[in-house]
């Protein structure tokens, strides 16, 4: 197991260095030098320009600049936003729980619906139910989710008036964030109706963000289940006279879960990409919307910091999934 972990780390460290290189290069690829980029359209005098270049160390050789950048990163300094003048890391940490809450709900929704549906489709292979699930999954997989979000808004907010259009909670309620998760905080605040408000705000974004993972999980569960159901040990279990529910729910499901867990782990990147669109549509104050806003505000230090932090988070989550996978399935950690 230790060699397995070390091997995984050996791959991830060069990738991490590469990711910092990309984030470092990003701000230098923009037309004009970084100080001019920060000054924006206001411009500045020659003298001030030279002083700022020296102050930020942009007049040093590029390799020295990169060294400084890495050093700053190691000390938790991800730069200061050009627009708000706040440390990027601080802004990121403030907004991050909103994205995590939304993503967790989305993946939960996808698993709770996708797993049973995929299982039943596999067991009832070839029935109308199976065909409907497969057609639905393919449609979900092909869905432009930014449009899907707008459709749901038309339907549930516009015509039916059931759900609010944007934000995380109604403006009527205000309380200090404790965990950063609105569902938990609203309960802790003890205010009447706050939890319901948070929940209704969460429903549509959850469905929108969960749609593609749901489709992927349903398809993956179905095909993993089909494969396992044709194995000899399943036939043996059936021949022994075990109840079908026990054969499928215990014997088959356990082995079918392995590929499904990997797929769920792989959805982290998909969720981040989806969060960019979902948060923009629903004005959800999370990382995705913040990145888009930063790009439009030309807040390049925030984009740089956000890019790096998101990549690191995805790398860490993927590493954890890999390790868990190795833990569950010894065949994985001993091959290669």
């Amino acid at each position: 197991m230790l060699t397995f972990i070390l091997r995984k780390l050996g791959v991830i460290i060069p990738t991490f260095v590469g990711v910092t290189l990309i984030a470092f290069t990003f701000i230098r690829l923009l037309p004009g030098d970084p100080v001019l980029v920060m000054a924006g359209e206001r411009g500045m005098t020659e003298e001030r320009h030279a002083r700022l270049m020296a102050e930020f160390g942009f007049d040093k050789p590029i390799i020295v600049q990169y060294g400084h950048y890495l050093n700053d990163l190691m000390h938790g300094n991800f730069g200061v936003s050009i627009v708000t003048k706040q440390p990027v890391l601080e802004e990121f940490i403030t907004l991050f729980p909103a994205t995590v809450e939304l993503s967790l709900c989305a993946i939960l929704f996808a698993v709770v619906v996708g797993l049973p549906v995929g299982m039943i489709a596999a067991v009832r292979r070839g029935t109308p139910f199976d065909h409907t699930v497969m057609a639905g999954a393919l449609t979900g997989y092909s869905m432009p989710i930014f449009w899907w979000g707008l459709l749901l808004i038309i339907m549930f907010s516009g015509i039916l008036g059931w759900t609010p259009v944007s934000g995380r909670i109604s403006l009527m309620y205000f309380f200090e964030p404790v965990t950063g998760f609105m569902l938990i905080d609203s309960l802790l605040s003890g205010q009447q109706g706050a939890f319901k408000s948070a929940l209704t705000h969460l429903i549509l974004p959850t469905i929108v963000l969960g749609t593609i993972p749901l489709a992927v999980i349903a398809r993956q569960t179905r095909s993993a289940m089909l494969e396992v159901l044709s194995e000899d040990y399943i036939r043996t279990a059936r021949a022994k006279g075990l109840k079908p529910s026990r054969v499928i729910g215990l014997h088959a499901l356990r082995n079918a879960m392995i590929p499904v867990i990997t797929v769920i782990g792989l959805q982290v990147g998909v969720l981040f990409a989806g969060a960019i669109l979902t948060e923009t549509i629903f004005s959800w104050p999370g990382i995705g919307k913040w990145m888009v806003d930063s790009i439009f505000r030309r807040d390049y230090t925030s984009v740089q910091g956000g890019l790096l932090l998101i990549a690191v988070i995805i790398m860490v989550v993927n590493l954890i999934v890999d390790l868990l996978y190795g833990l569950i399935n010894p065949r994985i950690r001993h091959t290669e």
């Binding site: 449009w147 990145m291 890019l307």
Partner: protein
């Protein structure tokens, strides 16, 4: 190798190809969804090619007497604008028809660029192994460690928002998948007897890579091409929707959606229809892709 023997070999291969195509079609046509997808996709191609002739109006012509006119079956609609008009009085049907051109164009360009670059890099990595392989694969890992849409968004921010730059960004984001697939397939082929035989005969390196090995690695690449064609359309539409792809007044479907956003509660058709066009096109291509995979991938065949 004598000329005659070479010709003889070619002939049998031609026959083999037709048989292979027949086998492919028999598998492919068994999948009803795939055939429907194919027919729909061909229809979109025809619509895109004939856009100038079948569109009732010019895509950017504004009719000042008809702002936000509903489709013909609703009260206030007319057959002059069968699917209604948008906020500045442009015919939506005509814009959708012309939009098909952009989506297909985006798909073709992105897939060809990503495929060519990805296949070359993957071939080099799988063929030479060693240090160059490590460098290429680490580079791909780095690209893959960003969410694709985010990386594309940032690349467009650097290059400047436009359709061409959006396509470049999407191609860069997609190409690691081709590198990985090609490399894996090449490594699988490298140890086979026919490659050793070709080496022994003294086939030159480039010919060995591109003529001997590559054709045997094509099946997964074709499936990937179909899938990434649809992803390219989706991502380009998403970038257009965020204002970072094709710029107004281009009748690109994602850009049309972005322009329509403020009217969602007033005029459902300006929002619903471009999205339907995206969904149906992507769905058709994905259906086709599934059929291709069933027909081409022997591991998944008849599972």
């Amino acid at each position: 190798m004598s000329e005659a023997a070479y010709n003889g070999e070619l002939d049998t291969r031609e026959g083999g190809r037709i048989a292979l195509l027949k086998e492919f079609w028999s598998y492919f046509s068994e999948n009803r969804g795939a055939v429907i997808g194919l027919i729909f996709f061909i229809a979109i191609i025809i619509i895109a090619l004939l856009a100038d002739y079948i569109a009732p109006h010019l895509p950017n012509q504004q009719y000042r007497e008809a702002f936000l006119q509903p489709p013909f079956w609703q009260e206030g609609g007319s057959l002059k604008f069968p699917l209604g008009t948008d906020a500045v009085g442009r015919d939506i049907l005509s814009r959708l028809i012309h939009g098909a051109r952009f989506s297909l164009f985006i798909g073709c360009v992105v897939v060809s660029v990503a495929l060519v670059v990805g296949v070359i890099l993957g071939l080099i990595a799988g063929f030479f192994r060693g240090r160059i392989d490590t460098i290429i694969m680490r580079l791909m890992d780095i690209i893959l460690s960003f969410p694709s849409l985010l990386l594309a968004l940032v690349l467009v921010a650097i290059l400047g928002p436009s359709l061409i730059n959006a396509m470049i960004a999407i191609a860069i984001v997609q190409q690691p998948h081709y590198v990985r697939l090609t490399r894996a397939a090449v490594m699988g082929e490298m140890n086979k007897d026919y490659v050793t035989a070709a080496r022994v005969v003294g086939v030159r390196r480039l010919r060995l890579m591109f003529v001997t090995i590559l054709p045997n690695c094509m099946a997964p690449l074709i499936v990937q091409a179909a899938l990434s064609f649809s992803t390219a359309i989706l991502d380009a539409a998403a970038l257009g929707f965020l204002g970072m792809g094709a710029q107004p007044p281009t009748p690109e479907w994602g850009t049309m959606l972005a322009e329509a956003r403020e009217f969602i509660l007033r005029a459902w058709w300006v929002v619903t229809l471009p999205g339907c066009a995206i969904l149906l096109t992507v769905l058709a291509i994905n259906l086709m892709g599934d059929g291709l995979r069933d027909a081409l991938d022997p591991k998944l065949k008849r599972s």
